[in-house]
């Protein structure tokens, strides 16, 4: 596997082009700081949304059920926040693909809901569920936007994975808001309409991640006529 040495003219040309645009840059904040900012955004959006609509769900929940729901929810938010930050840092350690983490988080929440809410009635399933899904997605939007602002200086080597992670985390903000607000404790309602906010928001993130970021190439730059 021996290859000829790199053309010195090419190396010289690369150096020259890098030097032409060489100015000091501020390194990104530590990954932990960025992840903490994402968790704070999730909490702020969820609380803001619940304050706007009313904390009816939170008031109706007992202490045990609140612990059972919000501890795993916060764990999922923290894991996804770390995954989202790492997806925007080249060469960062990855525990699992964000989609896998997200599927695990949704699965965990459905199990928790099944254990915490024994009401299996399904009357008014769509009529009561649709407004919850809409409200959850409505609050996931600003959460995703704020997260994108925080991570905009990052560089995703896998844009789709980054989109899923950020979208999923925004979805978790919507889900948290619904848990604080919605007083409907029927299992089918919560397990489907509330949890659905997360995969839908992740799907939106995935689609946005498909969009190519247009970066000028060296050849495009060097081929451009002088202004």
């Amino acid at each position: 596997m021996t290859a000829p040495p790199v053309d010195p003219v090419l190396l010289g040309s690369i150096e020259e082009k890098l030097r032409a645009d060489l100015r000091p840059v501020r390194p990104r904040p530590a990954a932990g700081v960025l992840a903490a900012m994402l968790v704070a955004i999730t909490a702020a959006v969820a609380l803001w949304g619940a304050r706007t609509f009313g904390f009816y769900g939170w008031r109706k929940l007992g202490a045990g059920a609140a612990m059972a729901i919000f501890v795993p929810l916060l764990t999922a938010v923290a894991m996804l926040a770390i995954a989202a930050v790492r997806a925007k840092i080249p060469g960062a350690r990855r525990i699992a693909h964000p989609a896998v983490l997200l599927a695990a988080a949704c699965g965990l929440m459905v199990v928790v809901f099944t254990a915490a809410f024994p009401d299996h009635r399904t009357d008014g399933f769509v009529r009561q569920g649709w407004p919850c899904l809409r409200a959850g997605l409505m609050w996931a939007g600003p959460a995703g936007l704020a997260m994108w602002v925080v991570l905009r200086r990052g560089f995703a080597v896998d844009r789709r994975a980054a989109g899923v992670a950020i979208g999923g985390l925004a979805g978790l903000a919507g889900l948290t808001m619904l848990e604080l607000h919605c007083p409907n404790f029927r299992l089918a309602h919560i397990a489907l309409w509330h949890t659905a906010v997360v995969p839908i928001a992740a799907g939106v993130g995935y689609v946005l991640g498909l969009k190519r970021r247009s970066t000028p190439t060296f050849s495009a730059r060097s081929a451009a006529p002088p202004s």
């Binding site: 790199v6 080249p90 060469g91 560089f155 060296f218």
Partner: protein, 162 residues
């Protein structure tokens, strides 16, 4: 890398001259033409330059560099494919990079060609770039276990082929 972020011109020379040969080898190991590898090297440096702020002092440099290099290669490949599809050009086999004429080298190259791209990447990073398992895992956005598995499968295949 930190001096490069601070805008030191000497750091540019040091980085480009130290890292370019192994990056170029990484691209030629994918059996692309010499010119194609040169283009990829240039594009990789442009990308490194654009996103140099995403590196943080104290973190390993090689996984960061190779993650960007892999991304550039995939991006370039997709772009080229799109242009080729649009122009409906006849597919031509690329002229592969010139290699040393010893028969062992040619055999190894032929054997590497048989490997799937992900396994080839892992072998090249481990054996040519001399990176650790942890560094390769970071560069390929996978776990150390997955890298070990890919390397093991690749060595098994290479053993059977050589």
């Amino acid at each position: 890398m930190v001096r490069y972020q601070q805008g030191d011109p000497a750091a540019v020379t040091a980085l480009v001259s130290t890292l370019s040969p192994q990056l170029h080898r990484f691209f030629t190991s994918q059996f692309v033409s010499r010119r194609f590898a040169d283009d990829l090297l240039q594009e990789t440096w442009l990308k490194i330059h654009e996103v140099r702020h995403t590196y943080r002092a104290g973190e390993p440099v090689l996984p960061w560099i190779y993650a960007i290099a892999r991304h550039t290669r995939v991006d370039h490949y997709r772009r080229t494919r799109r242009v080729e599809d649009r122009e409906q050009q006849m597919e031509r086999l690329p002229e592969t990079a010139a290699t040393a004429p010893d028969s062992r080298g040619v055999d190894l190259e032929a054997a590497l060609r048989q490997l799937p791209e992900s396994q080839r990447d892992v072998v090249v990073m481990l054996k040519v770039a001399d990176m650790t398992l942890e560094e390769v895992a970071r560069a390929t956005s996978s776990s150390v276990g997955s890298v070990k598995q890919k390397a093991h499968r690749a060595y098994e295949k290479l053993q059977g082929l050589l």
